[in-house]
Symmetry: none
Subunit: 123 residues, 4 copies
DNA sequence: GTGGTCTAGACCACG
DNA sequence: GTGGTCTAGACCACC
């Protein structure tokens, strides 16, 4: 998942945003960690620097990173971002599942998934 | 959901496709039911006939409807379409939930959703 | 194959033409046999009489049938029609197979088909 | 076959689809090869860009090409497409030949074609 | 009346 | 520059 997939229908900059969102929300990158520079990332992934820059602007706007002019980009505190993300996920999920029920998905099928993902013990 | 939502970022034709997919998969429209004509739909929803036509072509290619030139569009048999759709949903869902677990969603939160959607009794 | 298939992408009149072409060329209908009337056929297959009429006009134009005003339509002599049809088939077939070879169809696969259709003995 | 034939009864967009299908299935175009742009093709063949676009959309839906907005269209991996295509051809062929037998085509006539196309040695 | 195709020309997001 | 979407309006075959 380190490179961009051109067959993915999503625009490249959005794939990059998602990539860093995941790293940050899962804790793989910690607050104040330095993010590789635009130029370096562009070179490594052979992507236009403008595209990287756009992705970073969006990440900054959403509060995932902060820029220090002349020094680079850094991971921001993720306090409520994580909470917001989880809430949004749960809302979407409820809507999805409600629809799925309408065309025949059963509760047991969903429970199977939960058991497979979380293990069948409590969580 | 009878009209198109221009704030929805998805293209109009895709919204129309989704609209009919749902009606057909949930059984709200039955095989061989007639679908309102291209021109009529275009007039009612103030959308260009070409856009409707594009949506209907996609629905036909995916096997949801069949067209009879000079007569209209009709709902097709939905035999395995429903099965395929459910399988695809369950796969996507497992991937989603696995990711959600990575950033902190708990099993109990998902179970709450299931109980709210399906009722807490068995299904 | 007695009725028209509305899911067939071909126009209805063309399906009817094909239907009678086959009956006549295979000998299932013999020269001077009477063809069911337009009105009767239209009623039986619940098809617009104009559509039947168009099919019969084409069949007449191609020499498969002849019309006797006030009496009905009858199967014509098929002498060279059959020869022409076979020639046309063989030409098309050679073109098809030549193309198929280009994307990887093997001679043995075609021979298997011949053996399955004609039996493996001489013909 | 580089241009569109207006005497061909098939719609223009379908001719374009066929044109590229052949190039790709025969290996004349390799995976990740770039396909001439919509606008360029439209200009060269004096066809409306929308028509080209429609052809390319179909090719994409069928898995022959993938589009990268802002970059162009590219040939996709053809793994099972080729296999599927051959299977479909063989099935159609068996049906055709079975019909042809019914109106008098002989096995020897078909064998002549095979020998002419593949050579009379084994393949 | 129906669906299907095509042209012309516009606008957008993306890189 | 690229592909993608949409509108407007025309013409065709079919029923």
């Amino acid at each position: 998942m380190a490179f961009v997939d051109y067959r993915d229908p999503r625009p490249v900059y959005e794939q990059i945003v998602d990539y860093y969102e995941k790293l940050i929300l899962t804790g793989a990158m910690q607050p104040d960690d330095r993010i590789p520079s635009v130029r370096q990332t562009a070179a490594e992934w052979s992507i236009n620097p403008n595209t990287i820059q756009k992705a970073f602007s969006i990440l900054e706007e959403r509060g995932y990173i902060y820029a220090v002019p002349g020094r680079g980009n850094f991971v921001a505190e993720t306090g409520d971002l994580l909470k917001q993300r989880i809430e949004r996920f749960l809302e979407d999920e409820e809507k999805n599942i409600r629809e799925a029920k309408a065309f025949g998905v059963k509760k047991s099928q969903m429970e199977d998934i939960l058991n497979r993902v979380f293990g069948s013990d409590e969580a």
